[in-house]
Subunit: 589 residues, 2 copies
């Protein structure tokens, strides 16, 4: 997102473009999807009946698979969604059959500081407001399914405390003897709510549940959302949901959603969510939307299902993985691609002048604070900072190359940017053998991304030598070490006593041996400390806690001070959102 750099707000541009939108039926038809393979939500959005569609197209050849990642972003973001959309529009301009897959925005950042994830300027997807706010209900489905597990857990604990084994037996229930000190799951809500990070529940009277500590995370970080990103089909979804460990019994046995007899009902909430959503760019190319953001605290990938469909229907399919290549791309590479079996042909690394200057700045340079304006130091011409900042970019290029994927650098132009500086970045990349283009899709739409498109088309002619960072059957500690050293550049790892104890239990459980690692780490630094810019050296990765997502098959080390529930800032976006009573339209999103 590039908020604040144009005279016309994004939502105004979007509303203008929406007057000329294709109907969803035309959009689907042009992409090769039949009318009875979509479930319209109004005349401009739809869910795609993936099972019906995929069974028809599964023998098509796959198109080229392009993933969009970025350097270590500033708190403003560097326009990765904008680039994904702009690139899609660019391929469209070149007459290529193209689609992209992005993630449904969470109401957390939308109402807080970051705003929507619909792109910006002349590279946006529409209908913007409907997409940004609730959309077709997938995040709500995840939230409700997740919280239903907690309702089942807490109600069961309560009833077991009231009833004898005999009465439980009459009701067809076996005592699970859940340990209130070993509940793994929390509740979720799709907002940034620091006040709910740690709560005590069940403190009413004797009919009001069992007192215990609990927590709320943001809904997009739910294990169910990770499952939605990774799932193959409905059967896979049902099985994975049933394997989610909600808590442990007092004797140490895992209590799953299946034990609570709630896995079927949870899946029922998600039957519709498994179908990817379809909308369009403001230039009329198809945009799949599926799963959710937050590659820092969650998997943060668009879904495998959306990519599978896009690849079968398009010559070029562009997918987005959140934040920098250290977290979003690393998860795309070692988790998502491992499960999907798909091999990307190119990785676009988005970089901005401001991010490079931020990473290359002197030690006493001002901080960038979300909600405050960008300090002018990061706008003024400064080749010294820029050049130094390239270290961060080159580190991300190295990460992409470790995957055997061909990188392409996209220098994402802002209106205020200096041409010489832009060209300097591009030239320096080329000098060290990295294909690069300056892209101006924010201001010019697809037209502004043509140089980038042409380079990508060229790069895609070379086959990738795709390989994983780690063998899935390595000990977990080795997988974590590989990510810490090879990707983040850490010297060593320190575990908290809690994390160490959990790691021992995890290691001894052979059920977990083929689980992937899904780090929860700040996106604002390659390190675990959001203050460290550039390419931090001589630091130790601190693992505070480890979660195990038994349904998603993920080990989730929680590093540094990262929190699965973000906080709402003092000047949040919701202050500026309202309704235009004349048109009935929402303004400010």
């Amino acid at each position: 997102m590039l908020a604040g750099t144009v005279s016309c707000p994004d939502w105004v541009i979007a509303q203008e473009a929406e007057k000329r939108m294709k109907t969803i039926f035309q959009l689907a038809d042009e992409l090769g999807i039949a009318k009875d393979e979509i479930i319209p939500y109004g005349y401009y959005m739809a869910k795609v009946d993936y099972q019906k569609l995929y069974s028809r197209i599964k023998n098509n050849n796959n198109g080229k698979y392009i993933v969009v990642t970025a350097v270590t972003p500033t708190p403003f973001g560097e326009g990765k969604s904008t680039t994904t959309i702009g690139l899609t529009q660019g391929f469209g301009k070149r007459g290529k059959k193209v689609s992209c897959a992005i993630r449904q925005p969470s109401a957390g950042p939308l109402m807080n500081v970051k705003g929507s994830a619909a792109g910006g300027g002349l590279s946006q997807c529409i209908p913007r407001t409907e997409f940004s706010l609730g959309f077709t209900g997938d995040i709500n489905a995840v939230m409700n399914a997740h919280n239903l597990a907690m309702v089942a857990l807490t109600a069961r604990m309560f009833h077991e405390s009231n009833y004898s084994d005999e009465i439980l037996c009459k009701k067809g229930l076996k005592r699970l003897d859940i340990d209130p000190k070993r509940v793994q799951m929390g509740w979720v809500i799709d907002f940034c709510a620091q006040a709910l990070r740690k709560v005590i529940i069940g403190i009413g009277g004797k009919k009001d549940g069992i007192p215990m500590e609990s927590r709320f995370d943001i809904a997009t970080s739910s294990e169910l959302m990770a499952i939605l990103s990774l799932v193959k089909d409905l059967k896979d979804l049902r099985e994975r949901i049933g394997k989610i460990v909600v808590a442990y019994s007092k004797s140490g046995n895992p209590i799953t959603t299946e034990d609570l007899e709630v896995a079927g009902a949870m899946t029922a909430f998600m039957v519709s969510a498994i179908n990817p959503n379809l909308i369009q760019t403001i230039e009329g190319q198809p945009v799949f939307v599926h799963a959710a953001p937050f590659a820092n605290i969650a998997i943060g990938q668009s879904s495998i299902i959306a990519d599978r469909i896009g690849l079968k229907l398009s010559e070029y399919h562009i997918t987005e993985s959140g934040f920098g290549a250290d977290i979003g791309f690393e998860k795309f590479w070692n988790i998502k691609c491992r499960i999907s079996g798909l091999k990307p042909d190119a990785a676009v690394i988005v970089v901005t002048l401001r991010a490079l200057k931020y990473h290359g700045a002197d030690r006493d340079a001002p901080k960038i604070i979300p909600g405050n304006p960008l300090p002018e130091e990061y706008v003024l011409k400064n080749f010294k900072w820029l050049e130094k900042g390239l270290e961060n970019l080159f580190h991300h290029v190295k990460i992409v190359r470790k995957a055997g994927i061909n990188p392409v650098v996209c220098v994402n132009k802002f209106q205020i940017d200096d041409i010489d500086e832009l060209e300097f970045v591009k030239k320096t990349c080329k000098e060290v053998g990295i294909p690069a283009a300056v892209a101006d899709h924010y201001e010019k739409g697809g037209e502004g991304a043509l140089e980038l498109v042409d380079i990508i088309i060229d790069v895609c002619r070379n086959k990738s030598q795709f390989k994983f960072l780690y063998d899935i059957n390595l000990p977990h500690i080795s997988k974590i070490e590989l990510i810490a050293r090879e990707i983040y550049g850490a010297d060593s790892i320190e575990f908290s006593p809690l994390a160490l104890e959990k790691l021992k239990n995890i290691n001894s459980n052979t059920d977990f041996s083929d689980f992937s690692i899904c780090m929860a780490k700040t996106h604002l630094s390659l390190s675990d400390n959001p203050e460290l810019r550039g390419v931090p050296k001589g630091w130790q990765l601190f693992i505070r806690d480890i979660l195990v997502f038994t349904g998603a098959k993920l080990i989730v080390p929680v590093v540094g001070q990262i929190n699965l529930m973000p906080g709402t800032a003092s000047d949040p976006n919701f202050r500026r959102i309202d309704i235009d009573l004349k048109s009935g339209k929402i303004i400010g999103i």
Copy 2:
């Protein structure tokens, strides 16, 4: 709902009927709604663009307005939704242009004991599962809008505790100085979660909010849901939302959503929810669905907007108000009709043999426990209990007559019911001058409701002498007394010290003087004690607490032990809900 009385589960009947559903386009067209006046959600459900539609049809004559209410129900419910749908089908069979308005099921009872509210047997609305589970997202919209207010409140309290007045001023914020002991609003979730009734939040570290007591209510009891039922248009919605008092400052000033600058964003979540939903009965008549159930702890009415549209498009429009005439109908009458200005032509009072026997039973007769089978005492022939139980029915008839509306008794037949007993009830009603019919729509669909339909058509020829129970400008205590004595049959009222103190404050606030009374009372008895059957005599209504919904303009006395967050029972429905992996369909709803 009449679960358990047929060999074939409701959802199987529904799935069969869904094979022959009209498309939403055909359904809308037959009702006189244009294609561009609906927003399809798939091919069989839609939202109706009420503003566009209403502005076109507002000069049409209104059809006859029929409200469906009931005797004091058993915990199983007496088939009010089934009767509403069956009646709609019956009018259809008679060749009348008909529509009905029901409420969107809450996931609370759906996943707990009561199940869906789609009707049952051969009187259902379809698509049943989609309708029952999430539908077009209105309850989620209410939940998110409501919780956003709490996010705004708790984040504001947190930031005010960290920042000086000067820093707040720089951010354009004025210190609100919110009193953590006088927060009025809680959080909401659309489940029955006793463990969340009373919670402590903000107990993490120094970045994790302000410690304070809080609570979660069921989403359908949110003030926002009351507003959705009562609202006239988007402007009215925006204004009402802005008036919601979330908390009080330490100096006693009300803090509204407008003060928190969150009212616009809350409204943004509800822009789509204000449009009523359209589906069909299994015999193809139009069913509007809007707002939510829980007439005990909430207003529990289908919306004014849905009724306004239905009346303009149909000869007969049937609307549903929840539970018995003492609560659902009383709120319909004195709150909803006062705001809408609409005057009902007839009120159908649904009664069942089992409910009458339950109310007329001896003191030592078994209880009816949700989730357990119905004790056979209430099935076996028993004229003594039946006759005694009629007192309850006659009390509800009296309530309806106080409104000046003509009552019609619907003896809702179950397959196991005894014909002599059914005829006895009908005959006894007629003897005392109450039009009555035995209706068998559960087993026979619209055909089974024809006798009832004909009586209603006849009754609607006589003009109602509609009048309110209380003048809106009476002192609140007088309004409450009128409801307690005239409707519930209480001898007197007792206030808790808390309620008394709140009442004083409310009385002294002239802003509240035209607020209606929206009692929160058990639906299982005319009294405030769910154990007291029939027509309890010589009892005192206990008012425990009083809430003020400043946006909905409602004073909400909380009586007896009623709780705004129901609990999940030990044998909840979610145990029996799952996915049929072959068809991809949800089973058990």
